[in-house]
Amino acid sequence: MITAVGTPAGGTYSFSSSNASRASLSGTGDRGTITAVAQGRAVVKVIYNVSGCPPCEATVNTKICTCTQGRKYSYMNVSKASLVGASCKIKTRYGTLCCEIEGCSTADAFHAVYTNISNNDSGLKWAQVGYSRRRNAGSASIIQYRKAELQGDRYFIDMNTANAPAEGSVHEWKCELDKANGKWSYYDNGTAWITYTDNFWKSHLGQVVQWVGEILNKEDDMPGTSGEKCSFTECQCKVDGAGYVDAGFSAADAKSDDGSEWGCERVSGTAFNIWDKNPNT
């Protein structure tokens, strides 16, 4: 709500927004109500008309922060029995998070890109490795890191801020299960940088492998843009007792929660791209 004061009194006020797709405005008397539509910036203007004077105006610069929580995905999905490993080379692309450019939010936000193996025998369990960009609730700081996760009987996550991949760099992200010990090893360019052991994974193997781009808020950028896509290449998986084989993507394996917002395109049987079609600017 904004209140305008015109002198001399007795005139009329009219309110407007420079960008109604960001902020809409309605006025009653000397009061204007700003309604956030989408994150961005808008200039709010009030014009005052009073008898005997030319119109005069005042403006206010506004920032509109909207972080609409609800996970969205662009990904490739391959089902195979007895999975024990998956890998892929991923070009690192960081976008911006909701309200990051405007600098006016301390809400949770992230995007993440990773290789993931899951099992759904008794609720979804997974192992995943990749990278992420995040803002923690209550903080305006943005952090980047490589990450490893395990969901089994217990949930573990490691966010390795000291070894975040650089923008544009290509890293091979691989996770592999030692089923005898329920031990997952997480690799970054061939080096196992962390392991997690969990009893669930002593008696279960993977059923689905996914290579994923994920955002927490609708306004977080999906990694990649039309000019610089987040590319996944040499994607492979491994079933128990065998070596790594090509993922064998078909066009039908490519998924996006909303193709008008987030792209996912098959390039070959082992490669695909994801990107944000409307990145924050």
């Binding site: 995905y73 992230f110 923690n136 609730a137 573990f156 490691d158 390795n160 801020t161 196992a192």
Partner: protein
């Protein structure tokens, strides 16, 4: 910063705790007492701490103020920080700010032995206490956590900290601050079923800060309660 030295009196204990933490800049309600350590939960080091005489320096009525916080930001919690110092050497043993309220998703820290077993499985070791005091004060390390780490200290209901010699994945040991924030808002977990992870498994975060470089090395929710 003054080096470690034996602590002969309450005044010396308070001075040492203040040097190491800067908590004296946030409160004037400070008191020290001697006690024997019981039920320590520091992985790898709990055995050597058990039964050790120490000084406990309590800083009461603390609302955190951190250098990198948003201007005018106010800590919603009023906290007590207890700083344990080895009376013989003056070394920092641990810092604890306990939570006294009710929270159904709140779990106490695992025992030292249980925590140690989990960290060993991740190839992480606390090798001992560094012989020299930290370069970063506790508040400076918390500020690193605020800007580079996972989770905001302001949102933590409970805070634990240790200054230890640490190594992971075969790396050379180095002096680090290990700071655990407990009772955070449950962190969103990646994946469509991320919200099915129980809140008590994702409402705590342990950050490791390199004392020499002032860099946050990693954040993890291990050990689990």
């Amino acid at each position: 910063m003054a080096g470690y030295h034996p602590l002969a009196s309450e005044a010396e204990a308070i001075e040492q705790a203040s040097h190491l933490t800067e908590l004296d800049t946030l409160t004037q309600t400070i008191a020290a007492r001697q006690l024997i350590i019981r039920d320590d939960r520091t992985p790898f080091l709990w055995r050597q701490f058990e039964g050790k005489p120490c000084w406990e320096v309590n800083f009461d009525g603390v609302s955190l103020r951190l250098r990198s916080a948003i201007s005018g930001f106010r800590d919603k919690y009023v906290r007590r920080f207890s700083v344990l110092l080895d009376g013989t050497t003056g070394q920092l043993i641990r810092i604890v700010s306990p939570f006294e309220g009710q929270d159904p998703d709140f779990r106490p820290q695992p025992s030292g032995a249980a925590a140690e077993a989990q960290l060993r499985g991740q190839d992480e070791i606390y090798e001992g206490l560094p012989p020299h005091p930290p370069r970063l004060t506790f508040l400076a390390a918390l500020d690193v956590e605020l800007t580079q780490g996972i989770g905001s200290p302001f949102l933590a209901k409970e805070i634990y900290a240790s200054y230890v010699t640490h190594s992971r994945a075969g790396a050379s040991p180095r002096a680090v601050w290990v700071i655990t924030l407990n009772g955070l808002p449950p962190m969103p977990v990646d994946g469509p079923f991320g919200d099915t992870v129980p809140a008590w498994q994702r409402n705590h975060m342990r950050n490791v800060v390199d004392d020499a470089t002032g860099r946050n090395l990693f954040g993890t929710n291990s050990p689990q309660p």
